[in-house]
């Protein structure tokens, strides 16, 4: 009897709190699922951009990082899209174009329609790199050699259907030649293969390539404009006359499940860009060589839709 009374009392307390959830949200720590291992670039950046969440004027509650890696992100995102709560206390980080490409190519439980973007914190464009001792000095050299030797240019990248792979597909198409993609387990081993001379070229993150620039030649950026902060001298593919746009740029940001109350989404969408713009976050991100690109909810929604359309076309005959 006593137990039931306590339970009833607890329920009575909990119910009104549930109704008023949006107004005083959040009243407890919020979790952020990362679909990759601890220490990877996404995990590393997520820990930085969420470190001031508990500050006054921001969320007022800490954000706890939960890593749920496996099968190239599929395990974490599948779990999130099917099991996460829709009360705003469980968020996840997205990687575009990775999760969109996967949702097109594989039978996944997630797609852009059952997830709600909140805000974007970073964008890391892909670059085409070759070893310092390579005979290629420009994209043109590489294209010319590949024309005479179809399928002989090996190009490393972080795996299938990640930004690197999308950039590779675009480059291959724009150059009008046959190359050979060598998928690796992550960006670091892919870059190692370029440095060690196991492959002739590589598509990799701008930030990682920038750090290894003394042993590399960076031939082009797969983005719409040059990177003024880190690599002002490296031209884009467009400048060199090849039709490669920013579709492969690796965007990172925060999302929640569809069905989360609109009031909670609006609140998060208002707070998160402010949190990413915090001075301490900006400084740590700069130190880490991680490019920041803050986008609000509307901009991310538009970007997701564009990518979905583009990737559906690109991956159709693959």
């Amino acid at each position: 009897m006593k137990k039931i009374a306590i339970a009833a009392a607890a329920l009575a307390v909990a119910l009104p709190a549930g109704h008023a959830a949006a107004a005083d949200y959040p009243t407890k720590p919020v979790s952020l699922t990362i679909a990759y291992s601890p220490g990877g670039a996404t995990d590393f950046q997520a820990r930085i951009v969420t470190m001031v969440a508990a500050n006054k004027g921001l969320l007022g509650q800490p954000i706890v990082i939960l890593n749920r890696p496996g099968a190239g992100g599929k395990v974490g995102w599948n779990h999130f899209a099917s099991k996460a709560s829709t009360d705003g206390y469980q968020m996840a980080a997205y990687n575009v174009p990775h999760f969109i490409a996967q949702s097109i190519k594989f039978k996944t439980k997630y797609n852009i329609d059952n997830l709600e973007p909140i805000a974007n914190w970073g964008a890391d464009p892909a670059v085409l790199v070759v070893n310092k001792n390579s005979k290629f000095n420009s994209v043109k050299d590489l294209a010319a050699w590949a024309k005479d030797n179809p399928g002989k240019v090996t190009v490393s990248g972080a795996g299938l259907f990640v930004g690197h792979h999308i950039a590779y597909l675009q480059i291959e198409k724009a150059l009008g030649v046959k190359l050979r993609y060598v998928p690796h387990k992550g960006g670091a081993p892919a870059l190692k293969s370029v440095l060690g001379g196991q492959v002739m070229a590589g598509v990799n993150n701008l930030s990682d390539s920038y750090r290894s620039r003394s042993s590399l030649k960076i031939l082009g950026i797969a983005d719409l404009q040059r990177d003024k902060q880190f690599l002002p001298d490296v031209p884009t593919f467009k400048e060199q006359g090849y039709d490669v746009d920013d579709s492969s740029v690796n965007f990172r940001g925060i999302m929640v499940r569809k069905g989360t109350p609109q009031a909670v989404i609006d609140k998060l969408a208002a707070i998160m860009p402010k949190m990413f713009a915090n001075a301490r976050v900006a400084k740590q991100m700069r130190n880490g060589g991680s490019p920041i690109r803050i986008m609000d909810r509307a901009a991310v929604q538009k970007m997701w839709k564009e990518r979905q359309k583009f990737l559906t076309g690109l991956l159709k005959d693959l």
Binding site: M51, G151, G288
Partner: protein
């Protein structure tokens, strides 16, 4: 000798305090099953946000060195390797503990860890520029042969017979195939959603080693609940030190194997201990005693897996290429403080870089001091009554396998594999070759597939895998290892037959 100039920064009150905290914390984290060095370092990085760069890196350096050694504690006392690196330590270490020499085994383990660790860091300090480019030369074909070299020791590792060892290895290879393959993303043997991410090595490790023991203890415990299974004899530190130092051959093999394997990016320090253990047994005069509580086995395994720590950072510090998962996490720790590793690291950030390396050197010494201090006390763990100990191990096993990926699926996988292993163990199978199969399968497969793609673009697959001096050297080692196994197997059989004939006459 430039590193000597930077020792000053390590010997300040605040730095020493951080180093001690990092070391003690690392030992505890390392001793907890499931918390591998990689995870321990990843968890500590946010704490360094607020420290100055040199001290933040000291904390990470000290934690890295001590978690590697800490993993040996649970391997020796409970037969649960804290991380894959400690599997070989458990083979003889746990038997020593069961015979009452737990304290001595721990002391020997910490002393040989420190010797191997210091050796590895010295290699890092003096040979980094020479070795960095060498380490990069290892491509898919070489890593494939390294993995095959590992496969050749599966049969002889801790099994009653070669056939059972190989069978267990095959089961391991099969378990490793479950999930999406790492290159094409093809799904294999996924019958339920829980298996989508494959079998995580830590979950498998905990299940295969811990659960059969838990079941056995509970069986025994019901029969006689008051029984204490193991006694713990006191051990003299100096005697243990003398014993460790007298195993020169095992120390040298452990140090060299650990250093070389640590340098190879992607080979994974996970197998350093096992390879060193196996080589040390082959060259030892009392190789028959391995697997029966021979301290030499502990010396070889532990000196190897700590010797690996320093060299595994060589490609990271000079070329900004992390050679191991832990190095990748450390890269994050360096970046957060604005330190970009690369050829100019030691010119541009000499103070920070050297205090990081020095802290690992001092960390080895602190690890030795604290390790020896707790050895006697920690060994008492196994005096606990079996039913209580079994429950505690079960709690740790569930907690450990859950914490790796925050996934209940891993807990279920851990329990299923563990229960399966309990029955296999009754038929003379051993978990070590099975785990080795799980570790080596993906390395061999991944590098074979990559090598094929690259080989096809070049002169063909066969020349890619079979030519070049490094390939030929590795193939020669594989052949040697196989021939040795066969010859020693024949010799053992002949001796058995002679003994049987003598007994009959």
């Amino acid at each position: 000798m430039e590193f000597l100039d930077h020792f000053g920064a390590v010997f300040t009150w605040s730095s020493m305090l951080i180093l001690c905290a990092g070391t003690i914390g690392g030992l505890l984290l390392g001793a907890t099953p499931g918390l591998s060095p990689t995870m321990a370092v990843a968890l500590l990085i946010p704490f360094t946000f607020h420290m100055d760069p040199a001290q933040g890196l000291m904390l990470l350096g000290a934690a890295y060195t001590s978690t590697v050694a800490g993993g040996a504690v649970s391997a020796i006392l409970l037969n649960i390797p804290g991380a894959p690196a400690n599997i070989a330590t458990a083979l003889d270490g746990n038997i020593m503990a069961r015979k009452g020499a737990g304290a001595r085994a721990l002391q020997i383990c910490f002393i040989s860890s420190a010797i191997g660790g210091v050796l590895g860091i010295l290699v890092l300090i003096f040979l980094t520029p020479v070795l960095a480019s060498w380490a990069l030369k290892f491509g898919p074909s070489h890593l494939f042969w390294v993995a095959i070299l590992g496969v050749t020791i599966i049969g002889t590792l801790d099994s009653k017979s070669v056939v059972k060892g190989l069978l267990a290895g095959c089961i391991g290879l099969w378990i490793a195939m479950i999930g999406s393959d790492s290159i094409q993303g093809v799904e294999r043997f996924i019958f339920t959603e829980e298996l989508e991410g494959g079998v995580h090595i830590i979950a498998a490790l905990i299940g295969l080693f811990a659960i059969p023991q838990v079941i056995e203890m509970l069986e025994g415990g019901r029969k006689d609940p008051r029984r204490t299974v193991f006694e713990v004899r006191r051990a003299n530190i100096w005697r243990s030190a003398l014993e460790t130092v007298s195993k020169v051959r095992a120390l040298v093999i452990g140090g060299v194997v650990g250093t070389v394997i640590g340098l190879i990016p992607g080979a994974g320090g996970q197998i350093a201990g096992l390879v060193a253990y196996d080589q040390s047994r082959r060259f030892s005069r009392n190789s028959a005693k391995y697997g029966t509580g021979e301290s030499e086995g502990v010396v070889a395994a532990e000196s190897a897996n700590n010797a690996m720590v320093g060299p595994s950072l060589v490609p990271l510090l000079t070329l900004s290429v992390p050679g191991s998962p832990t190095a990748a996490v450390l890269l994050g720790g360096l970046l957060i403080h604005g330190i970009f590793p690369g050829p100019d690291l030691f010119q541009k950030h000499a103070a920070v870089a050297f205090s990081f390396i020095n802290s690992m050197l001092i960390g080895q010494i602190l690890m030795l001091i604290f390790g020896l201090a707790i050895a006697g006390l920690a060994a008492k763990v196994i005096e606990v009554k079996p039913p209580i100990l079994a429950s505690a191990i079960l709690v740790l096993a569930v907690f450990g396998s859950y914490s790796v990926q925050n996934s209940m699926a891993d807990v279920a996988i851990m329990l299923v594999l563990g229960i399966g292993m309990y029955f296999l163990a009754r038929y003379g199978f051993s978990p070590a070759p099975l785990v080795l199969g799980i570790i080596l399968g993906p390395i061999a497969e991944h590098n074979y597939v990559q090598g094929r793609i690259i080989g096809e673009a070049q002169d063909g697959i066969a020349p890619y895998f079979l030519t070049g001096w490094l390939n030929i050297l590795l193939i020669a080692l594989v052949v040697l290892s196989l021939v040795y196994s066969i010859v020693s197997e024949i010799r053992v059989k002949r001796q058995e037959r002679a003994a049987a004939a003598e007994a009959a006459s």
